[in-house]
């Protein structure tokens, strides 16, 4: 026997029981029923699309294997891959510069790099067309001053690639920045002390740990490019979304449009699946839960100049240029006597739709999030996964499916606000479920036990303890839904009641008719409307990161 017998002995260490944490009890039946109803609604458009496409019957195989289909699919893949790579090339250095170096203005750069998110990508694309397009300002200037006429066309692949890369880079930036906060720089410092330069140290240590976060951000960017309708339509690039819309408008046989829709969904779901697998992995790579310790930022020295140039070009293209162009148009349009008298009504429509969609989507997300976050049941997990399908259903597909459904079975609802809101709900419910669930998970289940033990029923506990504590996260989810709904384009175009215009559709119609001046008012208003909830979400995220709690 050793002298260390002074320490207590745990003679028998029992086996590890399955965690008894949150949900051993059965979920209330009402909750399951509500969540099931929501899941059924989410599945509705996809199921209908499958039925519709299968009506093509014999033709199905021939249609699917047509050269045209293959060409469109290749276009789509090409665009999404190149956009994802470019977004990472822009965002990863940006995130590293902001988080780890003595880059001048670092505190301001972080929100600035995220800010292009409030500019809808199709508005960005519009400004690029005006500047870089065939009869655009830059080409005219080049022609006049240097005599260059053969300026490469912005239309097609290059324009789509440029706009989507610049406006999806913030997704990669945010994912990577968040991961960088959690990665302890000690490995990087160790590499430096072993004689490696700062860039090499970063590449060989931190970058490796960042890989899941980078891929996760790239997949988000790719998913955006695949689902995007506005940019490729304005740039006249034949990717799946545009082809579906053209097919829908041009022909009475809509089964080919439905078929292309299914191909698009399959591709998008593949990206969603890969992303969700990586996201789980990315979490494991974070060390601890606290904020990483303060450290000496890397001295950039003479490299400050190229770093600043890089940041300047990115911000000029994705932020300054679109805003300057829009303001110039606005000034010109006002001088011309444009009155923008519709703007108030249109803004009102947009706000009403956005708020109603945010409320409905959040309400629908609540039972799903409660079931998945509070009870460990198989059905809860299945329902939660089902609602995530919305991520893989591009707006054009949901819009199309509800057009078919509405025109054939729900004549009363066709082209009414309720059907439009339902479509928004299907598309954006994952955002609401995600943030509601994560804020519910931060409520200690013991807190609910304490309330029950003090004599309160389940309902009273939810109302007085769980919901109030989770409320900030739930509201952030609602704000996110609002933000995406106000700039949503394809579903709004397809499903809005005749004569009901929103800021997004105004921009769309004006720019389709090349009336850019008229687009400037609604476009700037849209950016303003998006900026307010973004500021709220950003401030909250920052607060959360700083306090390290709910």
């Amino acid at each position: 026997m050793s002298l260390a017998a002074g320490t207590r002995k745990h003679a028998l260490d029992g086996p590890r029981w399955p965690a008894r944490a949150a949900g051993v009890r059965q979920p209330p039946l009402v909750l399951v029923a509500l969540a099931l109803a929501v899941a059924a609604l989410v599945l509705l458009p996809l199921i209908y699309l499958i039925i519709r496409a299968s009506e093509a019957g014999e033709k199905f195989r021939t249609l699917l294997l047509r050269d045209r289909t293959l060409e469109i699919l290749i276009n789509t893949i090409l665009l999404s891959v190149s956009v994802a790579i470019t977004a990472a090339v822009i965002a990863v250095p940006a995130a590293w510069l902001v988080a780890r170096t003595d880059m001048p203005g670092g505190r301001w750069l972080s929100p600035l790099f995220a800010l292009p998110l409030v500019i809808p990508s199709y508005i960005g694309a519009l400004t690029f067309i005006v500047i870089l397009g065939p009869r655009g300002e830059l080409s005219r200037w080049l022609e006049k001053s240097a005599g260059i006429e053969a300026f490469p066309s912005i239309y097609g692949f290059w324009g789509s690639w440029l706009a989507l890369s610049l406006f999806t880079a913030p997704y990669v930036f945010l994912t990577v920045s968040a991961a960088l906060q959690g990665i302890d720089p000690v490995h990087e410092e160790a590499a430096r002390s072993l004689g490696k330069g700062s860039i090499e140290s970063f590449m060989r240590t931190t970058l490796r740990q960042l890989r899941p976060a980078i891929f996760s951000g790239m997949l988000l960017s790719a998913l955006y490019a695949v689902s995007d309708f506005g940019v490729v339509s304005l740039m006249r690039y034949d990717s799946l979304t545009r082809a579906i819309f053209v097919q829908y408008q041009a022909s009475f046989d809509r089964s080919y449009a439905a078929l292309l829709g299914l191909v698009l969904v399959a591709f998008a779901l593949l990206l969603v699946g890969a992303e969700s697998m990586l996201r789980d992995k990315a979490v494991y790579y974070r060390i601890g839960s606290g904020v990483a310790r303060q450290r000496q930022p890397r001295q950039l020295g003479w490299k400050k100049a190229p770093a600043l140039l890089f940041a300047g070009v990115v911000l000029l293209l994705s932020l300054a240029l679109p805003l300057i162009v829009l303001v110039r148009w606005l000034v010109r349009a006002l001088r011309r006597g444009e009155s923008f008298d519709q703007l108030l009504t249109v803004t009102g429509n947009t706000l009403v739709l956005g708020i109603a969609a945010a409320l409905i989507t959040t309400a629908a997300a609540l039972p799903v999030a409660l079931l998945a976050g509070r009870y460990r049941s198989r059905i809860g997990a299945v329902i939660e996964r089902t609602t995530y399908i919305g991520y893989g259903l591009p707006g054009i597909v949901i819009g199309l499916s509800f057009v078919f459904l509405g025109a054939n079975y729900l004549i009363q609802l066709y082209q009414t606000v309720p059907l439009l809101l339902l479509a928004y709900m299907v598309r954006f419910i994952p955002q609401a479920v995600g943030s509601t669930k994560s804020s519910l998970m931060q409520v200690n289940p013991r807190m609910e036990d304490a309330s029950r033990g003090l004599g309160r029923s389940w309902t009273a506990t939810m109302a007085r303890i769980t919901m109030p504590i989770a409320m900030p996260g739930v509201l952030a989810g609602a704000a996110l839904v609002f933000l995406t709904v106000v700039k949503e384009l394809p579903m709004t175009i397809l499903l809005r009641p005749t004569g009901m215009d929103t800021l997004a559709t105004e921009v769309w119609t004006a720019s389709s008719d090349l009336r850019y001046g008229e687009a400037s008012g609604p476009a700037l208003m849209l950016i303003l409307v998006s900026a307010i909830p973004s500021a709220v979400i950003f401030a909250r995220a920052r607060q959360t990161a700083m306090r390290g709690d709910a």
């Binding site: 207590r8 029992g14 086996p15 029981w17 029950r452």
Partner: protein, 362 residues
């Protein structure tokens, strides 16, 4: 002001009155593995019972079964003479009048201290009960603070006040000090003991800390692998554990082989009196503090040599080696100049406990 202060129960009273809590044949399984395996337990008015066991032994599950957060697979729980749990029929937690104090306090973060404490009280009585409960735990005047403004120790006091305020028939404490640092834990332990005694609460206290269990309870139930292996008063448990494992879990224990005959046992330390009669091969349990060391002298024939010494301050631990080469630890007060290398005579205070030799757990 409502008072729950009653005179402490005498032994006669506890014997006559029905227990506040009666657990019979309770069993709980997860994925068909019993976590709580057929336990029986009774707690009387004003009694403080600890459930002591290593982590994962089922003690917290037992507490959650009592509180109604889990449903048993077999057996029953009665509180105040009313049937509360049996398989398939469970009163919900809110109907049980059970006060629970959790490991981290889990105060409601969006409510003030006063609102937390008053949460379980009817509105008509709320003000006076909140004032009373906060006074009892020594935090009168802090009602308007928010939980995040309190220290860890204060949070646990508020948590206790919140559990006491609705005047529950029984208080359950789930390792309430586990997340506090050692110094604070010791101080709060004493305070809570006094608070609970002042309101003569009936208490079940779950812990894995044997010192906490022994010093705070009237009775300790030791739980291993879902089974209560011994349910006894602290002294009884410490000096007469039912097995080597219990003996080692509640304190430092060392064992010497011996040969018993009636109430005496012969081992390397000589012929010793025992607590209970036994025959044949046994293990003799020796607590380090039961050993007495006398330095060798003219009248003292040494039988061991000191080989090592750990000085802790409040006491010290000396390692001694017997003639046969067997080593033992002896715990002595911090005074006395015995040093490594000294030759000593080892003797024992009082009687020793013998246990049936168990070849498996060596």
């Amino acid at each position: 002001m409502v008072q729950t202060i009653e005179s402490p129960p005498t032994d006669e009273q506890t014997a006559l009155r029905p227990p506040v809590l009666q657990i019979t044949g309770l069993e709980k399984r997860y994925r068909n593995v019993p976590v709580v395996d057929t336990i029986d337990l009774a707690v009387h008015q004003g009694e403080v019972l600890s459930i002591l066991g290593p982590s994962g032994c089922g003690k917290t599950t037992t507490l959650r079964l009592i509180a109604g957060f889990e449903e048993p697979d077999r057996g029953s729980i009665e509180i105040g003479g009313q049937l509360m749990s049996r398989p398939g029929r469970c009163e919900p937690p809110e109907k049980r009048r059970v006060g629970m104090v959790f490991q981290d306090g889990v105060l409601f973060p969006h409510m003030s201290v006063g609102d937390n404490v008053g949460f379980g009280v009817e509105s008509s009585q709320r003000r006076e009960r909140v004032a009373w409960a906060l006074e009892v735990v020594g935090l009168g005047g802090l009602a308007s603070r928010m939980p995040y403004e309190l220290s860890g120790g204060q949070q646990q006091r508020v948590s206790l006040a919140r559990a006491l305020a609705p005047n529950p028939s029984i208080i359950l404490l789930d390792e309430p000090f586990a997340s506090l640092d050692a110094a604070l834990r010791t101080r709060l332990r004493t305070d809570v003991r006094q608070i609970l005694a002042a309101v003569s609460a009936t208490v079940i206290w779950v812990t894995h800390d044997q010192e906490e269990a022994l010093s705070l309870s009237d009775r300790v139930a030791v739980m291993f692998n879902g089974v209560i292996v011994q349910d006894a008063a602290p002294e009884e448990l410490y000096h007469r554990p039912v097995s080597r494992d219990v003996g080692m879990f509640v304190g430092d224990a060392q064992f010497l082989p011996g040969s018993a005959s009636g109430r005496r046992v012969t081992c390397e330390l000589g012929d010793l009196p025992t607590y209970t009669a036994a025959e044949g091969e046994v293990d003799v349990m020796i607590r380090p503090e039961a050993l007495r060391l006398t330095p060798a002298g003219p009248d003292v024939v040494p039988n061991a040599v000191v080989t090592d010494r750990l000085f802790f301050g409040h006491d010290q631990l000396l390692r001694i080696e017997l003639a046969s080469g067997t080593t033992l630890n002896a715990r002595l007060g911090s005074y006395g100049g015995i040093r490594p290398g000294d030759r000593v005579r080892v003797s024992l205070r009082g009687a020793v406990l013998t246990l049936q030799t168990d070849r498996e757990s060596v």
